[in-house]
């Protein structure tokens, strides 16, 4: 097969993973409505803390944190849990036996996570803007969009690295992923400036890509700054993505090899 035909085949395979996930979303429509309602209400309650202080800028600060964290955590969760979830369904062996490159499989799940996450974040932002009467007239949407796209890269890399955990330990892999996600939430300044963190925690905020995502997004939406003004943050995010995606993928491949050596892929039998 020519390279073009192979590339087309991999593309349609990745579409297959995204399509399957959306079919599942459709089947669980009731639960999706519940999750969406919960995340929207959660963002509103966080925004109301700002309303209590009478500071409209604080409301916007908190809403950006809630919406952006919602998006990043969906991205991370969907990629990192795609293996655990297939294991639970019992389809992991079938998928791993198919002639699909592992990168294609993970990118298909990432494609779904980005599309799904953006949809949910858009609904969250729209409801919050209407509820709090937030004006986004001064926001620089081009910068915001670029920040969103670039910040997806390191989170995909982190998700890929964590996706292998359920292969290494059936019970504890998924639990470790949640702990890791919670740690990023703590140190990245989602609802507060990282300067309020205890001094021993602050170094962790420096290595968390979410810190730079939030800083750049707030600058774009609250101050309307251009791309040049968030150049440093974007550069750090690009470098983290370029490093973390191959590292995450390498971790996954090594973990898969180990699972195949020790027989950890199977559920039973």
């Amino acid at each position: 097969m020519t390279i073009k035909v192979r590339a087309l085949r991999e593309f349609w395979c990745s579409i297959g993973f995204a399509e399957r996930n959306f079919m599942l979303v459709k089947r669980y429509a009731g639960w999706e409505a519940v999750f969406l309602t919960y995340t929207v209400v959660s963002a509103l309650t966080i925004g109301l803390i700002g309303v209590g202080t009478g500071d409209q800028q604080l409301v916007l600060f908190l809403v950006i944190g809630a919406v952006l964290w919602g998006y990043l955590s969906i991205l991370f969760h969907e990629v990192s849990e795609c293996i655990a979830w297939e294991r639970g369904e019992g389809t992991l062996e079938y998928t791993f036996m198919a002639p699909v490159k592992r990168f294609t499989q993970l990118m298909g799940n990432a494609l779904y996570a980005i599309t799904y996450g953006l949809g949910r974040a858009a609904v969250q932002l729209l409801v919050c803007a209407l509820f709090f009467g937030i004006s986004l007239a001064g926001a620089n949407f081009l910068t915001a969009a670029v920040v969103l796209v670039v910040s997806s890269l390191p989170f995909l890399g982190l998700g890929l690295a964590c996706a292998v955990l359920p292969l290494l330990s059936r019970e504890r892999g998924s639990q470790a992923t949640h702990i890791f996600q919670a740690s990023i939430l703590l140190v990245s300044g989602v609802y507060y400036d990282v300067s309020v963190l205890p001094s021993w925690l602050r170094p962790f905020s420096v290595v968390s890509p979410a810190t730079y995502t939030l800083r750049a997004m707030r600058a774009a939406v609250m101050d309307g700054v251009g791309l040049a003004d968030v150049g440093n943050e974007l550069l750090i995010l690009v470098i983290s993505g370029v490093v973390l995606i191959p590292v995450g993928f390498a971790c996954f491949v090594l973990g898969e090899r180990w699972a195949k050596k020790t027989g950890k892929l199977k559920i039973e039998g």
Partner: protein
Amino acid sequence: MSGKNIAPTRDEKEGLKMAAGTYERVELERELDGFLAEAMNDGRPALKVEALTKRFPRPEGKRRGFWRRRPKFAALAAVTFTVEKGEIFGFIGMNGSGKSTLIRIVSTLLMPDEGQVEVFGVDVEGNPARVRELINRVAVDAAFFKVLSGSENLRYAARLYGLSPRLARERYDGLLTRIGFDPKRLSDQIKSLSRGERQKVAAARALMTAPALLLLDEPTTGLDPRSKREVQRVIREMREEEGTTVLLTTHDMEEAERLCDRVGILHEGRIVTIGTPAELTARAGGAGTTLEDAFLKFTGAEWLGDENGA
């Protein structure tokens, strides 16, 4: 006009296939056909297993010290056999005899500790991606997304194997009809189907990719006698029409006798004997001996129930 050749040119045909989204699969199958023809000319067997060994830690074993590993047992011990192209080869064995481990290694889901496995001359460890293009598997526990319908699951599987949904539908509709599955039930969620119906959808899912080597791990377990016969008939037809090679594991002696050209008896990770069903029964005692008798004799577990009044 009458003399004009209106048949599509080769380029037009390619364009039509591309438009229908089947191009990639057609290209792959063309390439695989060429590869298989070459493999046949070379006289390579469809499956060659040589001195295959796989060990696992004993579930009940305890570590002897923190750094020591748990003691291991051999799920497969120096297993050697070949399966010729177009052959249906069966393994019978008790639970835990190593049948599923063997199928998993050939499926590239498990890596051997020692030995070598080649599918049409391709090493499963050296080039697993190529092997995956040549095989498909029906497992005892048909794995599906249970809240999705049969057609949604098949559509997803088609994408993984580079089949367009349209081409897949053409193939699985025909297959399902042949194995006696009511196509109307395809829109039902998998969880609402009976075990037998799920196995039929699983069989169609594997067969629609036209694998050169079909791995069947107890494929008819849980099927009623009629469904069992229908699935067995389709397996035989696949071999006759497509030249598909089949590696089957089963507990069902009647199935092994009816389907398999040769049968191997696997016991505690070792092959104790291989031969045609007739050869095995002859070795076990001759006239009046069934394959089940032969199995019990070769595995050293002769049935004493009748003598004990059971």
